[in-house]
């Protein structure tokens, strides 16, 4: 009897193992490295969650290759394609061309790009590449609500926006932010500047100094390395008791804004959940529903964008208001403008 139970359970295990055919997922990082506290690391965390759920071992079922130069992208993608992984993920538009090349060379290989869309030179989608993009306008709306309510609570009327370069991807943040601010603080003045650079912290700081000087209380920065200058200016002023705030972007930047003890000048952050995107597409691929040639938009509803879970600088009332707006957007009752 005992033997039979053992046999049956063994058989069951074998069958269940066959049913959830284990897939192998690989991540190729850009030059930022696996621990960049940003897109690479975030994507890898999503892959790791998937690996944990499926009992995949790191280095076997899930693995990554780091790129040390742009020239590594194609070789790294090809290495994984030669290993016939079931899904290869790469974060960021830097991979666009490399992914297109590899997708053509390995037409059966399933690939995924995050925060970008791969098209061939005729502007056609590539059938074996899944594209994940983010509804930045929706997350930015919530950031705008947070900024507007915080300004209102402290009796201020001016907030600001500092973007990197003025093109639709970045402007999409701005329209959502503007709408969010105006929703809760209709009389607000919203200053807007674009640094023209994603690397020059000096310009970011100068623009922040200009906006803060003109009375801005909170600045939403969407400018990469230039945005660091905005954060620095908010910190420098706050450290001298002239309290000003910056809003983080892409990831939770709270720690970047700490100026005394645990007090941060980062009010909140508009996060792109690259981990959610990577995890969800891995699950779809495992279930035989790989979204090749499609553009998946990760929005508030799919938890692909949003504010961090913990916002020590926001009052309970503001957190509640944000939750209410989130619910309205998710249910479709409230439509956020977009620029794309």
């Amino acid at each position: 009897m005992k033997k039979r139970i053992v046999l049956v359970s063994l058989a069951l295990i074998a069958v269940s193992a066959l049913m959830a055919a284990p897939i192998r997922v690989g991540l190729v990082t850009d030059v930022g490295g696996i621990d960049d506290k940003s897109f690479n690391q975030g994507t890898w965390e999503g892959v790791k969650v998937f690996g944990k759920e499926q009992g995949l071992k790191e280095g076997e079922g899930i693995k990554y290759l780091q790129s040390t130069a742009d020239a590594d992208y194609i070789p790294n993608l090809s290495t994984f394609a030669d290993e016939q992984l079931d899904l290869i993920i790469a974060p960021g538009f830097l991979f666009n061309e490399a992914m297109l090349t590899v997708a053509k060379q390995y037409p059966d290989q399933k690939l995924m790009i995050i925060d970008s869309v791969v098209q061939d030179k005729d502007g056609k989608m590539v059938p074996n590449v899944a594209n994940a993009v983010f509804a930045a306008n929706e997350g930015s709306f919530l950031a705008g609500v947070a900024a507007g309510l915080k300004a209102k609570a402290d009796g201020k009327k001016i907030v600001g926006f500092v973007g990197g370069m003025k093109f639709p991807l970045i402007e999409n943040f701005e329209v959502g932010y503007d709408q969010g601010v105006k929703a809760v603080l209709p009389g607000a003045t919203i200053l807007s500047d674009y640094t023209g650079s994603f690397t020059d912290a000096g310009i970011g700081q100068a623009m922040a100094a200009k906006q803060f000087g003109a009375g801005a209380y909170i600045i939403f920065q969407v400018a990469g390395g230039s945005g660091n200058g905005v954060i620095q200016e908010a910190k420098a002023r706050s450290a001298k008791k002239d309290i000003r705030w910056a809003i983080g972007v892409d990831k939770d930047q709270y720690n970047d804004g700490i100026y005394a003890g645990t007090q941060s000048a980062i009010l909140t952050s508009m996060m792109k959940r690259v981990d959610v995107a990577a995890h969800d597409v891995a699950v779809m691929t495992m279930n035989g529903k790989f979204p090749g040639g499609q553009v998946l938009t990760f929005d508030l509803k799919s938890k692909g964008v949003g504010l961090p879970e913990k916002n020590p600088n926001l009052s309970a009332a503001i957190v509640k208001a944000i939750a209410d707006y989130t619910a309205q957007i998710v249910s479709g009752k409230l439509k956020v403008d977009s620029r794309q």
Partner: protein, 315 residues
């Protein structure tokens, strides 16, 4: 008027590291060594300053200033490579400088990886706090322009301009330094040790460029990244030429660039310029500098022997 009051300090903050780095370039070139490695040296200085500041901030409020010192020290060590290659090995100075620029990026990121397990330093808390000079800050107009919430590197830059002028033109050391840059053989015939003077020139240059990089990272950024210096060393080189290898010229050129940058930030808010594409404003500082260079350059003559390999036997 109120726009000017906020714009001028912005220009000063932006110009300070450029001026300090350009002064560094001046010392090196005055001794006869072309130093296009300013950029790389600034990166090393910025990296060292950010790292030390991150480590010391929990311990002492003076961490930012100790960070600057660390940046200067690290940059001097790094610039030794340039001096060694240019003076002892008689290498082409442009090649050696380029090598340093390339090395700096890889080296700093590699060290970040070792120290902080990421490709950038950790974020420091405040870096260098802005200063208000007690008493002077309350003077109308002049107070807010020069003495209220000013970044410390600005005062350092002004001080260094006067100090450099004094050293280069009013001391025996300065005379020897300049003679090595003009005609090293003649200098040698008067008993000046050319190699030693050139080492001094490059090391001072390293110290100043390191300070500039440190000041940039600690006042403008929140951490050191490979993009923190983003070409400022080359702009400093431009200011050195524009300023005709003279400390006050360098000050003028640096301030000019700072103002061009600040005005490009404000120009888009002027109503009748609304129709102009943003890119034109981004271009403004560079176009203005290029125009000024053409208009004012006349004969922009650097030290005669700069870039030349010292050959004691040449007549």
């Amino acid at each position: 008027m109120s726009i000017l009051l906020t714009m001028i300090p912005i220009a000063f903050v932006y110009a300070s590291p450029i001026i300090i780095a350009a002064l560094g370039g001046m010392f090196s070139e005055r001794s006869g060594i072309v130093n296009i490695a300013l950029e790389g040296i600034m990166m090393v200085g910025g990296f060292a300053a950010a790292s030390v500041t991150v480590l010391l901030e929990p311990v002492t409020p003076a961490a930012g200033y100790i960070g600057i010192l660390a940046g200067i020290a690290a940059a001097m060590v790094f610039s030794l490579l340039h001096a060694f290659a240019s003076v002892n090995l008689k290498a082409d100075q442009v090649i050696s400088g380029t090598a340093l620029n390339i090395l700096a990026g890889g080296l700093t990121v590699y060290l970040c990886q070792i120290f902080f397990k990421q490709q950038r330093t950790k974020a420091f808390t405040v870096g260098l706090v802005k200063l208000s000079v007690p008493g002077l800050a309350d003077i109308p107009v002049i107070g807010p322009l020069f003495f209220k919430d000013m970044s410390p590197p600005f005062y350092a830059a002004i001080l260094l301009v006067f100090l450099s002028w004094f050293v280069v033109y009013k001391t025996p050391f300065g005379l020897r330094l300049r003679s090595c840059g003009e005609h090293p053989q003649a200098a040698a015939s008067m008993g000046i040790k050319v190699a030693r003077m050139r080492y001094a020139g490059v090391l001072i240059s390293g110290a100043l460029a390191g300070m500039a990089g440190a000041a940039m990272v600690l006042t403008q950024d929140i951490q050191y990244t490979i993009a923190s210096v983003h070409g400022t060393g080359f702009i400093a080189l431009g200011c050195l030429i524009f300023g005709k290898w003279n400390p006050f010229g360098v000050l003028g050129a640096g301030l000019f660039f700072g103002f061009a940058q600040a005005s490009s930030i404000y120009a888009k808010d002027i109503p009748f310029l609304k129709a102009v594409p943003l890119e034109v404003f981004y271009m403004l500082p560079y176009v203005l500098t290029a125009i000024a260079l053409v208009v004012f350059s006349g004969k922009s003559v650097g030290p005669k022997a700069a870039g030349e390999i010292y050959d004691a036997g040449k007549r």
